[in-house]
C-alpha cells in the first residue's frame, strides 16, 4: 500500500563551526517563492539540489543535470534558468520562483496549470514543472504567441510522453485564460 511521507530535507548544507578539515562553505540567502532561506552551503552545491533538498521543493525535477531536458527549470529574477546548470552560491541574494509558488494558498491552480490539466498536456508529469515555468516566461513576454513562437519558447524543454501536441493546446488555452 502506498506509504505517504513528510518531506524530509537532506543535510546538503554543512555545519562547519570551528573546524578546518570540513569543506569550504559560504552562507547564502535566497528568496524562494517569496520566503528568505539562509543556509551554509558548499560552493559546488547545485541550485537544483539546493531547491530540492535544502528547501524541500520537489517540484524542481532533475532529468539530466546537463542542461538539455529542462525539467529543472525555475525562474530566477523573473527569467527561466535551468537550475541544474548553476550553483546555489550564484543565487545568493536572488529571487527564485518554482512551480510550488504558482497555485494560490487555497490550492486553486494558476491558469497555466489549469490549462495543462484541461488539455491533458501531461502524462508522467516529470517534465511538467519545467514546461509550466517555461510557459509562464513565454506568456509574460508574449501574451498571444503563435504556434511558431510557442515552439521557440518551449524548445529547451523535453517531454518524452505527450508528443507536445497537447502542450501547444495548453499554452494557447492558458494565454486565453490569462487574457480574461
Amino acid at each position: 500500500m502506498a506509504r505517504s511521507r513528510d518531506v524530509v530535507t537532506i543535510p546538503m548544507s554543512v555545519d562547519n563551526a570551528g573546524g578546518t578539515d570540513g569543506p569550504v562553505t559560504e552562507e547564502i540567502t535566497v528568496t524562494v517563492n517569496g520566503e528568505d532561506v539562509t543556509a551554509e552551503v558548499e560552493p559546488r552545491l547545485k541550485l537544483s539540489d539546493f531547491l530540492r533538498y535544502e528547501c524541500g521543493l520537489r517540484g524542481v525535477r532533475v532529468g539530466c543535470e546537463h542542461g538539455v531536458c529542462g525539467a529543472c527549470t525555475v525562474q530566477e529574477e523573473g527569467l527561466t534558468v535551468k537550475s541544474c546548470l548553476s550553483y546555489a552560491v550564484q543565487a545568493d541574494g536572488a529571487e527564485i520562483e518554482t512551480v510550488e509558488g504558482l497555485a494560490d494558498e487555497d490550492g486553486s491552480l494558476h491558469p497555466i496549470q489549469e490549462a495543462f490539466h484541461e488539455t491533458h498536456a501531461l502524462q508522467c508529469g516529470f517534465c511538467t514543472s519545467g514546461f509550466v515555468m517555461a510557459t509562464k516566461e513565454l506568456l509574460e513576454a508574449n501574451p498571444d504567441p503563435s504556434r511558431e513562437e510557442i515552439e521557440t519558447g518551449l524548445a529547451d524543454n523535453i517531454c518524452r510522453c505527450t508528443g507536445y501536441q497537447n502542450i501547444y493546446e495548453a499554452v494557447e488555452r492558458a494565454a486565453a485564460k490569462m487574457e480574461e
Binding site: 537532506i10 546537463h66 505527450t162
Partner: protein, 829 residues
C-alpha cells in the same frame, strides 16, 4: 454521495439508459493536480530519516579483467560509510536471474551465464558497476567513489552484432559463443512458396540501438529491517509484482520478505524500467550491511551508458516471394539482435513479432529465424513495442522493394494483399489472432487524405515540382500497421523452455497470470480501489475511477485509486504490452460484481431478508418491498461491526485468450498470444533536403482504431506520445558505439530526444471497431505509435527519393542525415 437518491423500484434498465456513462468520455485526470502543483512524490523525492546515499564505480573499459580493487582511500574518506565490491557479494548473495540461464556449449555441457550486481573478475561493458560506495550524501559518495582504485587489464572487445557471431572475441568465455539463443520457425511451406513464385526479392535493413529514455532516471530507497529480517524497497521498477523475483532471488530471500513498492507517480518508463533490479539489489545489500536506509538515484550519464536500458538493435535479411499479379506468396525473416553483455529478461523481444508476423497482409508461408547475440555493450531492456517496431519496419521495407521489383504502385500492392474484414477474426500462420477491423477501409481513408493534399495541398504536383528544384523532395507512403495488444504471460519464457517439447505440450499446462484488483468501501461511503500494477503516466487512476463509477453507478469522484506493493499483491503481470485498457476493463467489471453482491448481502442480513429482496443501484442497496435504502456509508458501518469484512473484495481477471479456444494452439506451443489487434495507417508527409540529408515531417496524418475508447483524451495522448517516440527513432536517436566498445551517446547532447521543434503536427482520426474478445470492446493502445511511426516515416522517405532512383534509401534506422547523404553521394558517383 451525490447520486444516492433512491430511484423507483424495478427501473434498473431505465436508470441505466438515463445514466450517462463515464467510460468513453475524455475525463480530465485525477493524477494531474498533485503533479502540477509540485506535490507529486516520485522516487527521487523519497528520503527517509537517517538515509545514506549510494554512488557506483563503473568500468570505463568495454572488456577487461579486474586485476585488483583498492578501496582503502575511499573508505577513509570522511562521510564514507561503506564500499562494496563484487567479491563482497559472492557468498552472501546470488547472481541476478537472467533471461537465458544456460547455454549448451560445443561439448554438450550446460554452461551458466552469471550476472552479478557488481562485476568481480571481468567487466563486459562500459558502465558496468564494479563497486558501490555509500556515504552521507550523493556528493560525498561520488567523492569517495573517485577514490576507489580499480586496476584493469584490458581485453579486446566486440561491439557489432554481426561480427560477434564469428566468436573471435567471446563475451562470456565460459559459454564459448556469443550466439546464446537461436530459433528457426516455419509456418506453412515457405520453401515451396519461394520455389513457385514469379519473383524473389531480397533486402537488408538495420535498426539502430534506441530506447525509451524516460525523463526520470531509475531510483531506489532500500531499508533493511533486522528484526524482521526483511526488506522494504521503494523504487520505480516497472511490473513490480512480476519482476520482483529479480530482486528477492538475488538477495536470497523469499518474496514475502522483500516488499517492493512503487510510488503512484513514476516519471515515464515505456518498458525500460522493468530492468532496474541491479540498483534495487545493491541498495538493499548496502542497507543490510549498514542497517540504515540507502538511496540510489541514477544520473543521466549512468543511465545512458550503463543503465541496462538500451533496446533492440537488429540487422535484418528479408526475402519476399511475389507473383506478377502482386500476390505476396512467401516471407522469410532472418535477423540478428545484439543484446549487449547479458541476455536479460526481455530476450522474448525477438519473439513478439510473431504476434503480427505478416502485419496486415495475407501471407501463408513464412519462416522466421533469429540469432540472439551478446556483445560488449550495456544490456537490453524492454521498450514500447517490445521488438515489434523493427520487425514492422523491415517488413514494410521489403514490401516497398517488392513493389518496385514487380513495377506495381506500392499502395496498390499493399491493398491487394490486405486481410479483408470478412476474414476476421483472422488466424496468422504463427497462430495468433487478429480480432476485428476493416483494413482496406483504413487504407482507403488515409489515401483519401493524401489525395486531398495532392490537390492544392502539401503534395500538389506543382509545389512538389517547385520544391524539388530547390533540392527538397516530398513524399508519403502509407500502410496499415497492427499493434498487438494484451500479451499473455505464459509464452514469455519460451527461451527458457525445452522448445522441442512444445509441439506436444498439452493445453492444460498453460498458466496465465491474471490482473488483480481490489475495492473496499470506506466508512465515509467512498470507494477505494487498489491496483496491483504500477503506473508511469498512463492515467490508470483516472481510468479505474471511470470504469468503476459506471459499474457501481456512482461518480468517479467517489472513488479513490491506490496501489498495492509486491507483498500485498499477488504475482501478476501488470502494465506492459498494451494490456491495461483491456485487463482493467475486465477486472473492474469483476470486482464491481463481487462488491455489489456483498453489499446486497450485508443489507439483506441487516434487514433479515433474503438476498433477492434487495437490489443495489446508484450507490445504495434498496429493500424492494419497502423502498428503504442503505447508503454505502451505512453498509460500511454495518459491516465494520461484524467479522465478515464483506465490504472489501478482490478479483482476478483472467487473460481474455484463456477463455477462447482459438488461442489454444498458440498458448500450448508458447507462441506469442496477443488477443487484440489495434491498427492504423499513417501518412507522414516528409520533405528530404538532398543537400543536407535532413528529413522534415510537414504533417503527420494518422487514422487509428483501438476498439472502444475508454477515455479518448488518454487514447489520443498515448498515440501522440508513441508517434513522437517513433519520430525520434526514425530520424534522431541512436546509441552508437566505437568499434572498441566505447559508447558514443552518454549525454542528451548525443542521444537526441525529439523536442517540440522535431515533432510535427499530428492530425489524427479514429474509427472504433470493438474487440469481440474483451469486456468493453477496448483493444490495447499503449504502444501503437512507436510500432507504426518509424515504418511509415521510412516508407515515406523511400517514396520522396523515388525520383532519384535510389534503392531503399531508408534501409537503416535512424534515417540520419549522414546516412541519406551517403546514399545520395554514392549514386552521384
Amino acid at each position: 454521495m451525490s447520486q444516492s437518491q433512491p430511484t423507483e423500484v424495478d427501473t434498473e434498465t431505465d436508470a441505466d439508459s438515463e445514466r450517462e456513462s463515464f467510460t468513453g468520455q475524455g475525463l480530465p485526470r485525477v493524477e494531474d493536480h498533485r503533479i502540477l502543483t509540485g506535490r507529486a512524490e516520485y522516487i527521487h523525492d523519497i528520503t527517509p530519516e537517517n538515509c545514506l546515499h549510494m554512488a557506483l564505480v563503473r568500468s570505463m573499459h568495454a572488456h577487461a579483467e579486474i586485476v585488483g580493487i583498492d578501496a582503502s582511500e575511499a573508505e577513509a574518506h570522511p562521510g564514507c560509510e561503506l564500499v562494496l565490491t563484487g567479491e563482497d557479494l559472492r557468498g552472501e548473495y546470488n547472481p541476478m536471474p537472467t533471461g537465458i540461464e544456460t547455454v549448451t556449449t560445443d561439448d554438450g555441457e550446460e554452461a551458466p551465464i552469471e550476472e552479478w550486481s557488481l562485476a568481480a573478475d571481468t567487466v563486459r561493458f562500459v558502465g558496468e558497476p564494479v563497486a558501490a560506495v555509500v556515504a552521507t550524501n550523493r556528493y560525498v559518495a561520488e567523492d569517495a567513489a573517485d577514490l576507489v582504485d580499480v586496476e584493469y587489464e584490458s581485453r579486446e572487445a566486440v561491439a557489432d552484432g554481426m561480427a560477434a557471431r564469428e566468436d573471435e572475441v567471446v563475451v562470456h568465455e565460459s559459454v564459448g559463443t556469443n550466439v546464446v539463443d537461436h530459433e528457426r520457425l516455419e509456418f506453412g511451406d515457405p520453401a515451396a512458396a519461394f520455389d513457385e513464385a514469379d519473383h524473389v526479392v531480397e533486402g537488408e535493413y538495420s535498426w539502430g540501438r534506441i530506447s525509451g529514455v524516460p525523463l526520470e532516471t531509475a531510483g531506489v530507497v532500500a531499508q533493511y529491517d533486522e528484526e524482521a529480517d526483511a526488506f522494504d524497497i521503494d523504487c520505480n521498477i516497472q511490473l513490480h509484482t512480476l519482476v520482483d523475483e529479480t530482486i528477492y532471488e538475488t538477495l536470497g530471500y523469499d518474496a514475502d520478505d522483500v516488499r517492493v513498492n512503487v510510488p503512484a507517480d513514476v516519471g515515464g518508463s515505456y518498458g525500460t524500467k522493468i530492468a532496474i533490479h541491479r540498483y534495487c539489489c545493491l541498495a538493499a545489500m548496502a542497507s543490510q550491511q549498514l542497517e540504515r536506509p540507502v538511496k540510489f538515484e541514477e544520473d543521466r550519464v549512468e543511465n545512458l551508458q550503463g543503465g541496462d536500458m538500451h533496446c533492440s538493435e537488429r540487422d535484418y535479411r528479408m526475402r519476399m516471394a511475389v507473383d506478377d499479379d502482386g500476390t505476396m506468396c512467401g516471407l522469410d525473416v532472418w535477423f540478428v539482435d545484439d543484446f549487449g553483455a547479458f541476455p536479460r529478461y526481455p530476450v522474448n523481444q525477438v519473439l513478439k513479432p510473431l504476434s503480427v508476423l505478416t502485419n496486415s497482409y495475407v501471407i501463408d508461408d513464412v519462416s522466421y529465424e533469429y540469432d540472439l547475440v551478446l556483445t560488449n555493450k550495456t544490456s537490453q531492456t524492454a521498450y514500447r513495442g517490445f521488438g515489434v517496431d523493427p520487425h514492422i519496419y523491415a517488413l514494410e521495407m521489403i514490401v516497398d522493394d517488392a513493389a518496385r521489383e514487380i513495377g506495381m504502385d506500392p499502395t496498390e500492392f499493399r491493398r491487394r494483399n490486405l486481410i479483408r474484414p470478412e476474414q476476421m477474426p483472422y488466424t496468422l500462420p504463427s497462430k495468433n489472432l487478429y480480432d476485428s477491423g476493416d483494413y482496406p477501409a483504413t487504407l482507403d481513408r488515409i489515401q483519401e487524405i493524401v489525395d486531398e493534399e495532392r490537390d492544392g495541398g502539401l503534395l500538389d504536383p506543382e509545389i512538389v515540382e517547385a520544391k524539388r528544384e530547390e533540392g527538397k523532395y516530398r513524399g508519403v507512403q502509407p500502410s496499415v500497421i497492427i499493434e498487438p495488444g494484451v500479451s499473455g504471460s505464459d509464452w514469455t519464457d519460451r527461451q527458457r523452455s525445452d522448445r522441442e517439447d512444445l509441439e506436444e505440450r498439452p493445453r492444460e499446462e498453460v498458466d496465465e497470470l491474471p490482473e488483480h484488483l481490489r475495492a473496499t468501501v470506506g466508512e465515509d461511503g467512498t470507494i477505494t480501489a487498489f491496483l496491483a500494477t504500477d503506473s508511469s503516466g498512463q492515467g490508470h487512476q483516472t481510468l479505474v475511477s471511470q470504469l468503476l463509477a459506471d459499474e457501481l453507478e456512482v461518480l468517479p469522484s467517489d472513488i479513490e485509486v491506490d496501489y498495492l506493493d509486491s507483498v500485498d499483491a499477488p504475482t501478476e503481470y501488470g502494465s506492459a504490452a498494451s494490456r491495461m485498457a483491456v485487463m482493467l476493463s475486465g477486472a473492474t467489471v469483476g470486482v464491481a460484481e463481487k462488491l455489489v453482491r456483498n453489499l446486497e448481502a450485508i443489507a439483506a442480513d441487516h434487514w433479515d431478508v433474503s438476498a433477492d429482496e434487495v437490489t443495489y443501484h446508484d450507490g445504495v442497496v434498496e429493500r424492494v418491498s419497502t423502498s428503504e435504502t442503505l447508503l454505502l456509508a451505512d453498509l460500511a458501518a454495518i459491516d465494520a461491526d461484524g467479522d465478515d469484512h464483506r465490504r472489501s473484495v478482490s478479483y482476478n481477471y483472467d487473460h481474455p485468450a484463456t477463455e477462447l479456444e482459438e488461442f489454444d494452439e498458440a498458448l500450448a506451443q508458447k507462441l506469442p498470444v496477443y488477443p487484440t489487434a489495434a491498427f492504423g495507417a499513417n501518412a507522414p508527409i516528409v520533405e528530404v533536403d538532398v543537400e543536407t540529408g535532413e528529413v522534415e515531417i510537414l504533417t503527420f496524418y494518422t487514422v487509428r482504431d483501438c476498439g472502444t475508447m475508454l477515455n479518448p483524451m488518454i487514447v489520443d495522448g498515448q498515440a501522440h506520445g508513441g508517434i513522437a517516440q517513433g519520430v525520434g527513432a526514425a530520424l534522431l536517436e541512436e546509441f552508437g558505439y566505437e568499434e572498441n566498445g566505447q559508447p558514443q551517446a552518454i549525454t542528451l547532447f548525443d542521444y537526441l530526444l525529439p523536442s517540440i521543434e522535431n515533432v510535427p503536427k499530428i492530425e489524427m482520426e479514429h474509427t472504433e471497431t470493438p474487440s469481440p474478445f474483451t469486456e468493453t470492446g477496448a483493444k490495447g493502445v499503449g504502444e501503437g505509435g512507436m510500432i507504426d511511426a518509424p515504418a511509415s516515416i521510412a516508407t515515406s522517405i523511400n517514396d520522396a527519393l523515388e525520383p532519384l532512383g535510389l534503392e531503399a534509401p531508408a534501409d537503416r534506422i535512424p534515417v540520419a542525415p549522414d546516412h541519406l547523404r551517403k546514399k545520395i553521394r554514392d549514386r552521384e558517383r
